[in-house]
Subunit: 161 residues, 2 copies
């Protein structure tokens, strides 16, 4: 899906705004070596091309009282479409679930990343919510001891000419 292949300046723009969405067009233009007008034009084009999705504010997990990050591997009894759909739909209701992917190459079917205030909350989530969903066969829990890398910036190196 590479309709609008970003050139060198586009990539500079993307690099900057990925790190800081609050940057003004003026400062952005300066950093990428452009004047404000063509810079904002390029940003708009990148939005229209669907490359720029949206701007979000990142909060601090610890400061909000969510020190626990947990990776959960979920296996399903069957791979029936209806079962999977129901599982995925139910999961949408749990705000603690930051990520969920259907995966292959593992004994599990889904991998989840969830954040929690403490163990009591996780126990409740595990036994009363996740484990209650129809079709769940087994669950394996991995606690994150330490966050080594946590990035929202996508790599752009593969776009080089």
């Amino acid at each position: 899906m590479l309709k609008h292949k970003p050139d060198l300046i586009d990539r500079k723009i993307l690099r900057e705004i990925q790190q800081d969405a609050a940057i003004s067009n003026l400062e952005l233009a300066d950093k990428v070596g452009l004047s404000p007008s063509p810079c904002s034009r390029r940003v708009k084009q990148l939005e229209d091309a669907g490359i720029i999705k949206r701007q979000v504010t990142l909060l601090d997990q610890e400061a909000l009282g969510l020190p626990l990050t947990i990776y959960v591997h979920v296996s399903m009894q069957t791979q029936e479409t209806a079962r999977l759909e129901n599982f995925e739909l139910t999961l949408q209701n749990f705000e603690a679930v930051q990520e969920c992917s259907l995966i292959t190459g593992s004994d599990a079917d889904y991998i989840l990343k969830v954040v929690m205030p403490d163990m009591a909350y996780y126990e409740h989530f595990l036994l009363k919510q996740l484990n209650q969903i129809e079709g769940v066969a087994s669950i394996r829990t991995s606690f994150a001891l330490r966050r080594v890398i946590s990035r929202t910036t996508l790599p752009l190196g593969h776009l080089n000419d």
Copy 2:
């Protein structure tokens, strides 16, 4: 780490700006039922309290030619501190690594989430980069067949009075 416990209005603010960092203070104030001045005051307080970290722009993985999301479980030969530190430091150089956590409750030591343009890139990453790091014992690869949930918004429900 709950120095400044956010009240109801704070939580409304956090909910809004988590979803859209581009919202103006005027519109934000309106949405949370405040006038602009106290609203911006609260946002500043939340920043000072370390609850608000920063604003970022999210890009589209597919539009950028990065259709592959891969979860990688890495086991280390030993848990020697120096080895782990070297592994973690080396990993910082790989922009494709979106997340990396040291985990327990699994046979693996680290779980990684990486994004890739295609299989050839991943093969290179796996054999020439990840596998070359001192102390890596074994690597298990799980391809994401489908992204079910991908959120950057932290849950706030546990803060309710």
